[in-house]
């Protein structure tokens, strides 16, 4: 990265202060001052949750959570990354389960310890209603858990903050898989297409295209009808 001119501000990476340009994300700012992360960076676009970060601001007692790749630096930011969160994952064979929501409590009984403090929701850098989906999980409402947790990128911050030691995103993952497999289930038109393929009804046309010379192929391509 080339050195930048313009407005700078001061951030503290694990307590050490650095001047950085003001228009950088936390991730780029840390690189700017010389870090080359092995952990703590993944997709760099807000999709993987590898860059979970906590910080405080000057004269502010609150602890803030962010994704380092998605948050612009602020003056006086006092930060550290949490590149890994130890959590428990239950092992299951999805084929042997069903759509009953009681499975969530069975596999993750700790969700019953939720004290509705809402700390998880406040911690979520995706702004999800984490506590609401934990509550839905307790009720066994897998549809609601799916809807509310869908945009979860598993950064781990809710699990770090939960006083009841729940790892909400593990529960949500199971709920979504149950919902997808047993509630949405197998779609009818897809069934039909798979049968047609099995009966080898559709391969012929492809073979014909493969055997065409490029001139013919180009002409068929230009002639194809576009669905409105």
């Amino acid at each position: 990265m080339t050195e930048k001119k313009g407005v700078t501000l001061k951030i503290y990476v694990m307590g050490k202060g650095y001047e950085v340009p003001s228009d950088l994300t936390i991730m780029k700012a840390m690189e700017y001052v010389g870090y080359r992360p092995v952990r703590g960076a993944g997709c760099r676009g807000g999709f993987c949750g590898a860059c979970a970060t906590i910080y405080r601001l000057k004269d502010d007692y609150r602890l803030h959570m962010a994704l380092a790749c998605q948050k612009t630096v602020e003056d006086g930011m006092y930060l550290t990354q949490i590149p890994f969160t130890p959590v428990r994952k239950t092992v299951y064979d999805l084929d042997e389960l069903d759509s009953s929501g009681t499975l969530l409590l069975e596999y993750y009984p700790e969700i019953a310890r939720c004290v509705s403090c809402n700390t998880c929701t406040k911690a979520c850098p995706q702004d999800l209603d984490v506590m609401d989906y934990v509550q839905a999980a307790i009720r066994g409402d897998i549809e609601q858990v799916t809807a509310l947790s869908f945009d979860c990128i598993r950064c781990g911050l809710c699990a770090v903050r939960c006083p009841a030691e729940i790892a909400p995103y593990q529960v949500a993952l199971l709920a979504r898989r149950l919902y997808g497999k047993y509630v949405l289930g197998k779609e009818k038109q897809l069934d039909k297409r798979l049968r047609e393929l099995e009966e080898e009804k559709l391969g012929e046309d492809v073979v014909q295209l493969i055997e065409m010379d490029v001139g013919e192929l180009r002409a068929s391509y230009e002639r194809r009808e576009i669905e409105e």
Partner: protein
């Protein structure tokens, strides 16, 4: 129309207002698709790939004489990270049947199918440079193509794919892609992947650039995230061993010229491990982080073409490696997210690209390379673009149209990732358009494979973005998520079958030593070493003062 424009500098107001003013008119207009001749003209004049600068002929190895982007040629014409004489091959640290290099989509799919078809979990090993699933695969937003609707069929999918690829694709690979696509959707349903559905329970499908049917299946705009979460959970449920933060830095071979595993590098402890394996699958993904021709990229941190570099030394052949996909719509503003993807689904749902005057200049659904070329022309030849505070040019993607066409609230539900991305930086895309410019997105070419996912080197299989042929010289949206599923599955099954039969001889790194000789013969004098493993974004000051003492 003097409402406050949030998130954008004041000087852009005039143009943003022009876009808003022409919106009603444009809602009824479509800019025509251009014909094949015009396409070629646009590409030749404006697409970065069609320029002669930025490429050179590779001077050694199986593709000697072929063109490659300078950044890729640099990695091919480079020394190994290891000196074979310093590596102890007499102690085998890990001994498996199927070694999978790269834990993105292709790698996990391969592992699962090897396991489904009979490989014991403990006989498989995934080595992954970052965390499992931290890959381009987790980032795909738009969706996956599969010809499963009544008005669609694999032949139309074939035609769209091969025409989009300018008739350069490997026909047999495309056949496998289109014929097996519906079976992948079925497998995903069984894994519990939550695809978007209509009220009546049928699959929601959308059109995308270069397709003639609505064939794109998505999971909101987190398709990759949803698929990868399921794959990763299944890999964990099935107890398939994974070693994270460990990169393959060279393939191992045996005395009979078969690939026999890899030299691994623990990126945290900085030690090497010898992993012997009867079969090896490369699933290392693409090369966005090489920043070809200086472009910003949508790709994840580890997209550095490692697989290409190490397979080439072992004798694998490449194709179309000079063909790069620039996604037409990368973020051009704000600075924090420059280069990140604005998914094509934004166009699928109705947003038109418009110039600074609010006028149409391209149909939203041209194949990607054509769309990009037209945007570059609008910015650099016709100069109808907006310049950002850092000197980057861009055109508008008129996202508020989505709400006008599909109904209010569509963006928050169908494009929640996009909305969140912009909202974090103060831009409300339901009200304001997005400033975009093409961004480096996808490695069209790669290692040559056959329909079983085999390379020409015995024992070496490959799948996903690291391979070439499926997409020819231009990939359509939705076809690479499909690609890593189809060919990941094929490679996993083929590697498992191969491992049952092969007899390995003595391990060697002779191919690395031989490659050194080739470098000398070709007169290549360089300090460069490859694979790259991770890009280096440290500030100049740090780099210029770097010392290695500890």
């Amino acid at each position: 129309m003097s409402s406050l424009i949030e998130g954008y500098p004041e000087y852009m107001r005039e143009s943003i207002e022009a876009v808003a003013r022409s919106r009603d008119r444009r809602l009824k207009e479509t800019f025509p698709l251009i014909d094949l001749k015009e396409r070629e003209k646009a590409l030749n004049q404006f697409h970065p790939d069609y320029k002669t600068e930025g490429k050179r002929r590779v001077r050694l190895g199986p593709n000697k004489g072929d063109l490659a982007p300078t950044e890729v040629a640099d990695l091919l014409e480079a020394h190994s990270l290891i000196d074979p004489r310093e590596i102890d091959l007499s102690t085998i640290d890990l001994d498996v049947d199927i070694l999978i290099i790269g834990g993105g989509g292709a790698g996990m799919v391969a592992a699962l199918w090897a396991n489904y078809t009979g490989a014991e979990p403990a006989s498989i090993l995934i080595v992954q440079k970052l965390r499992l699933g931290d890959a381009n695969s987790v980032m795909s937003q738009g969706g996956i193509q599969a010809a499963d609707r009544p008005n669609d069929n694999p032949a139309i999918h074939y035609l769209d794919t091969i025409g989009g690829g300018h008739f350069t694709n490997d026909p047999e690979l495309v056949r496998a892609l289109v014929m097996e696509a519906p079976s992948i959707l079925r497998w995903h349903e069984e894994l519990g992947v939550v695809y978007d559905r209509e009220q009546d329970g049928s699959m929601t499908t959308l059109e995308c650039g270069g397709t003639s049917r609505k064939r794109l299946h998505s999971c909101r705009d987190y398709t990759g995230l949803e698929i990868v979460r399921n794959l990763r959970d299944e890999v964990e449920n099935r107890n398939i061993p994974v070693i994270e933060f460990t990169a393959a830095i060279e393939l191992l071979m045996d005395e009979y010229g078969q690939v026999a595993g890899a030299v691994l590098y623990n990126m945290e402890t900085q030690e090497y491990h010898i992993a012997r394996s009867k079969s090896t699958i490369l699933a290392t993904g693409g090369f966005g982080r090489l920043h070809i021709q200086g472009y910003q990229t949508t790709n994840h941190y580890g997209a550095t073409a490692d697989g290409i570099a190490i397979a080439y030394r072992a004798g694998a052949r490449l194709r179309d490696i000079d063909s790069v996909q620039y996604h037409p719509t990368g973020a051009a503003y704000p600075e924090q997210i420059v280069g990140l993807l604005v998914t094509e689904k934004v166009r699928s749902l109705g947003a038109q690209p418009v110039n600074k005057n609010g006028d149409l200049f391209v149909n939203p659904f041209e194949p990607r390379d054509v769309e990009s070329a037209m945007i570059i022309r609008e910015c650099y030849e016709r100069k109808n673009s907006i310049e950002t505070t850092t000197g980057m040019r861009g055109i508008w993607l008129d996202s508020p149209m989505i709400e006008a066409i599909q109904g209010e609230g569509t963006i928050r539900t169908a494009l929640s990732a996009m909305w969140r991305l912009y909202n974090r930086f103060g831009i409300d895309m339901t009200k304001e358009p997005l400033l975009v410019f093409p961004t480096l997105h996808y490695q069209n070419g790669g290692i040559v494979i056959n329909q079983r996912g085999e390379t020409r080197v015995p024992g070496l299989f490959a799948a996903g973005e690291v391979t070439g042929g499926v997409h020819g010289r231009n990939r359509l949206m939705g076809n690479s998520v499909l690609d890593y599923n189809i060919f990941g599955r094929k490679a996993g099954i083929a590697a498992k079958e191969y491992a049952e039969k092969v007899k390995l001889g003595k391990l060697t790194l002779n191919h690395v030593a031989k490659y050194e000789e080739l470098l000398t013969e070709a007169g290549i004098e360089t300090l460069r070493r490859s694979p790259m493993l991770l890009p280096d974004y440290r500030g100049e000051k740090t780099v210029s003062h770097a010392l290695t003492v500890l």
